[in-house]
Every structure is written in C-alpha cells, then in structure tokens.
Amino acid sequence: MTVRFTRDHEWIRTEGDIAVVGITDYAQSQLGDVVYVELPEPGRKVERGGEAAVVESAKAASEVYAPATGEVVAVNEAIVADPAKVNADPMGEGWFVKLRLADPAELDGLMDEAAYARFVAELG
C-alpha cells in the first residue's frame, strides 16, 4: 500500500489495483468547513488531471482532480451525508472515490509523503 500526493493536494492510496482518492489535510484546512461534495457516478471514466469531484465550503468551491487515469468503482456516500468528515479525517473516513487504475505506473510521477510535506512547507 503506497500513498502518493499531487500538487493540487489530492492523495491517492493503492490497495491492489484499486486506488482510493481524497484531499489532504492541507486542502481541507484551506477550504474551511466543507458543506457539500459532488461525487461522480460509479462507472465514470476519469483522465489523470481531469475533474473527478467537487468540494465546497461556505465560501469556496474546488475541483478535485483525478491523480491517475481510471474508472470510478465506488464513491463515499458517507461524506455526502456528512461533509464534516472531510475536515475531521481527510486521509481516512473522508475519502472521495475509488478508482480501478488504467496504468498504475502513472503514480510514479507523484510526490511521496516526505516530498509532499516539503512542498506544503514551502507554500508558507
């Protein structure tokens, strides 16, 4: 199981050929209280860098981009019912979608945990 991070503050964790995607702690703190999420339908195909979901706070709305190409196999209904989970546990219960990856090698270009931590530190 590996976790990787994008420059847009998404994380992706592989469990076999299924990858779980969410937004990072930094992202949720920047957004503020999450009030609503818009998730794709299972079966939808997403491209790496393409819009996978939308996350809204009272004052902002952000696209959640797919870190890798794949097909949506599951979405987290729990965060639709209770968006606060995204703030409370962004790396765990606050996951957004699960993808069946088209090409797991795409993840090699993403930051690992240490690299992402440095990236966030530089944002100031």
Partner: protein, 494 residues
C-alpha cells in the same frame, strides 16, 4: 437581559408566518358578486398557507425589519467597486410621476412619446459621456449588460465569418466576467497581473491570437488602478482582430474626465445603480446599459427607439435597421424606473458636476490612502483612483484576519469594506468611499480603522475575533446554513 428579548430601540421581530390571524386581511376589498366561474375546473382548492395580518401589524413588521439594516442613508459604505453613493430623493419623486409610473409598456406608441423621449435623452447623455455612438438600454443589471456586450461581439464576429472561441479575462476580474463569457459559449483564458497591479501586457500579447474574440477589462481595474498601458492594450487587441470590452463598474473614477471611446474601447457596460446613483434596494433592481462602437451597434438588442415622421417609435422585431439585432434580452423595454432616476441625477450634476464627481471620488480615496497607508499594507503603493486596495500583510502574526477586522468595523458603526476581492492579493481589503462622503466622515472612518489595526497589532486578537458584539446579530453560522439549507418557513409538524 429583557423579558421580550428587545434591547431599547433594537426590537426583535418574528416571521410573518408566526403572526398569522387566519382570515385577517390588511386590505379592504369589496365582496365578489358570486358569478359562476370560468376557470374550467382548475380552481385552487387547497389552502395556500399565507398568513393574515392587519395593516398596523404589517407596517410594524417591516418598520422593525428596516431598523436592523445598515444603509447608505445611515452611514458610509466603503465597498470597493460598488460605488455606494448618496441616493438623491428627487429621483424617487420623479420616477413616481404617474406619467412614468402608470404607463403600460404596450400602450400605443402615440400615448408614450414622453417616455421614449426620456429614454432617448438618457441615451444621449450616456453617448456623450462615453464617446461611443450607440447605447443598448435594455439590460437589467451590470452582469446582464456584460452578457449583452459579449453577445453583440459574438454576433459581429459571426457576421464577418470569423467565429472565435476564447475570451481573455484578467485574474483580478469580477466573477461576473468569466461567468458571462461562459454563458455566451466562450472558453476563458486568465491573464495574470504584473507586479504593478495592472494586467500583464506581455502575457496578454502572448495569449492574443486569431482565436480570441475579445478582452474583457475593467478600467480603472479592481485593484483601484488605471490601466496605464490601455492604449497599447487596445492596439494589440484590435491588431489581433478582437474586440475590446470594458466592464464599466468603476466609471465613477473617470466620468466627465475620460471618455472610454478615447481609450479604444468597443463596448462598455455602465451600472446605473453605481455611478449614476440609482438605489441598491438591498440587492437591486439595477440597470446595465451598454455603450457600443459603430461596428457593434447593428447587433444591439431589441427594442430600438427610432425617429419617424409621427414622432418616436419602437422597433420590436429584427427587421429594417434592426435586422441584425441579437434579439431581446428582457421583456418590454428596460428598467424605465432606473432611467428616470439616472437622468435626473445626470441633469442635476450636469457636465461640470459629473466631472467634479470623478475628481472628488478620486480625491476621497487618495485621502484615505494617505491616512491609512502608513499602518495598513497597500497592495500596490502609490496613487490610486477612486478605490484603494490593501492586503493583510499588516496583520501578519497577529492572529487577526481581514474578516475579523471587518467584523470589528461593524461595532464601530461602519459597513465593512469589500473583503477577499480581488483574488490577486491575500486577504484583500478594497475601500471606495465615493464623492458623497464628507471629509469628517472619512476622518472618522480612518480613525476607527487605524484604532482597530493598532488593537490587532497590540495583541488584542480575542476581542476582534468575537466581533461584532453590538449589531442586531453576532456572527452567523454560515456553515450550518450551507450544510442543511433551510430556505423557507414550514409550519411546525402537527
């Protein structure tokens, strides 16, 4: 605390629906005759659910509600890009003359010649002030005017057989600009600002090609600065075969001193509810006429007012001179009530008064800049136009945000300035006093803001984060309102 929850003149007031006297009515109407109806069996049988109240109860209800509102009549609104100036009462009187207020839009044209004359006169004033030869008067608000402008541009390009797909929009633009471009079927390219707070000319030129339909620029821009390279910008845009659209929200800075046509602008919307004093009314109605260059004029929306042998007439179909019109943007003829008010405003000021408006607006903003820039961090140091932009660097390490400072201003008796806009600086505070503020009013505002900044820098973050404490309501839970929206009253479950 009091028994009623009231605090002196601050009176609590329930919802109308919570004061229902069933069957009661605040209007006395004659009894119906009881004729057999002709509704074809479509009578409304179930109760509607509207509450019944007498006139005294209704007057008290709305009087109490009004007392919870801040308004320009009460105090300064330093709202950048909103131009909250005094709303002259003469304008209200004239708009209510029966000869305007009691006219049906579809009366025979021979019975409304005075109304058509007023609209034409307003158009004449707007053409003289902008230097552009045509004006479309039907758009109902600024955003509607932007849509009108973009539609005429797209129609003009289509007519030349030169369909293009992109609009260039500065990063600092008001949200209506990209929203409008998208509504018109265009893709948006964002152009960054340069370090001087203006649009980056090199970046603009790099993005300009045969696929760009137009640049949408605000001038003076949303950072309160005049786009000093505007002539080069216009030349570049026209050189690429594109149109130059200007968002005229900030026209108050230059009215009577600069004509947009002289800057190379092809289309410009004006906000009658900003520059020309028509009241904001808690969120409208506005009016957003669009001044157009000769090349765009044929595409102006319906209706057109034309002169014939028998006087003025309305062209309501795309035929004759209006054959290329984009069509209608609104039912009927436009925001007539706002036209009367705006024309009264313009005639009251005259050419000399309007020029003075721009000068005093710019003077007032620069005076506030002079008083504040030593303490607050000005985003782009130097002279500003009618509004001045600060960022939140001066609050660094205080634990106080732009929002906290703004909420503390409420306790001081001021409406906060525009916050977090434009997006190009962090924690933006955009201050536009307008020309109808006296020097004493500006000084009082500056004194209050400086005192709050000093409190923040002095370590008193707690009291600022708890603000406002003296307003009719403390800070409201916007998260809860968005997570579980309650958008109407419902009767309590039985």
């Amino acid at each position: 605390m009091t028994v009623t929850g009231n605090r002196g003149l601050q009176l609590e007031e329930k919802l109308l629906f919570e004061q229902d006297s069933p069957g009661h009515c605040g209007v006395d109407l004659p009894a119906p005759a009881g004729l057999p109806n002709r509704l074809g069996g479509l009578e409304r049988t179930r109760p509607i659910g509207l509450p019944g109240l007498s006139e005294p109860q209704v007057v008290r209800h709305y009087t109490r509600l009004s007392q919870k509102n801040y308004a320009i009549d009460s105090g300064l609104y330093p709202l950048g890009s909103c131009t909250m100036k005094h709303n002259p009462r003469l304008n209200e009187k004239l708009a209510r003359l029966p000869g305007f207020a009691d006219l049906h839009p579809l009366q025979p044209v021979s019975t409304v010649q005075g109304a058509l004359e007023l609209i034409d006169t307003l158009a004449h004033w707007l053409k003289a002030l902008t230097g552009l030869p045509a004006v479309a008067l039907s758009p109902a608000a600024g955003a509607h005017g932007e849509l009108c402008g973009m539609m005429t541009i797209r129609a003009a390009l289509s007519a030349r057989g030169d369909a293009r797909r992109r609009i260039l929009v500065p990063e600092s633009a008001h949200g209506t600009n990209p929203a409008t471009a998208a509504a018109c079927g265009y893709a948006i390219d964002n152009i960054p600002n340069n370090p001087r707070g203006r649009v980056d000319l090199a970046a603009l030129k790099a993005r300009l090609d045969g696929d760009v339909a137009a640049l949408m620029l605000t001038n003076p821009n949303t950072c309160g600065l005049f786009e000093d390279e505007i002539l080069e910008i216009a030349a570049a845009v026209h050189g690429a075969g594109a149109f130059f659209y200007c968002d005229g929200a900030n026209f108050n800075a230059i009215v009577g001193r600069v004509r947009p046509a002289d800057l190379g602008i092809d289309a410009l919307h004006l906000n009658l509810h900003k520059t020309f004093s028509t009241p904001h009314g808690g969120g409208g109605p506005g009016s957003g006429p669009v001044a157009l260059a000769a090349e765009l004029a044929p595409f102006a929306p319906l209706p057109w007012i034309v002169h014939g042998a028998a006087g003025r007439d309305l062209v309501e179909r795309p035929e004759g001179p209006a054959a290329a019109s984009i069509g209608r943007l609104k039912a009927f003829h436009g925001q007539m009530g706002m036209f009367v008010r705006a024309l009264a405003y313009m005639m009251s000021h005259g050419a000399d008064g309007l020029r003075q408006v721009a000068e005093d607006a710019v003077l007032n903003a620069n005076y506030l800049r002079a008083r504040l820039a030593g303490t607050l961090s000005q985003a782009y140091p130097g002279t500003c136009m009618h509004e001045v932009l600060f960022d939140d660097r001066f609050l660094k390490d205080t634990g106080v945000t732009t929002l906290d400072l703004a909420k503390a201003l409420i306790d001081e008796g001021f409406h906060p300035m525009t916050m977090y806009f434009p997006l190009v600086v962090h924690g933006a505070l955009l201050i536009e006093p307008t020309e109808t503020e006296s020097k004493a009013s500006l000084d009082q505002f500056a004194d209050a803001l400086l005192a709050l900044a000093a409190r923040a820098r002095g370590g008193d973050a707690e009291s600022l984060r708890a603000a406002p404490r003296l307003a009719p309501r403390r800070r409201l839970d916007e998260t809860a309102a968005a997570r579980k929206p309650v958008l109407r009253w419902r009767p309590p479950a039985a």
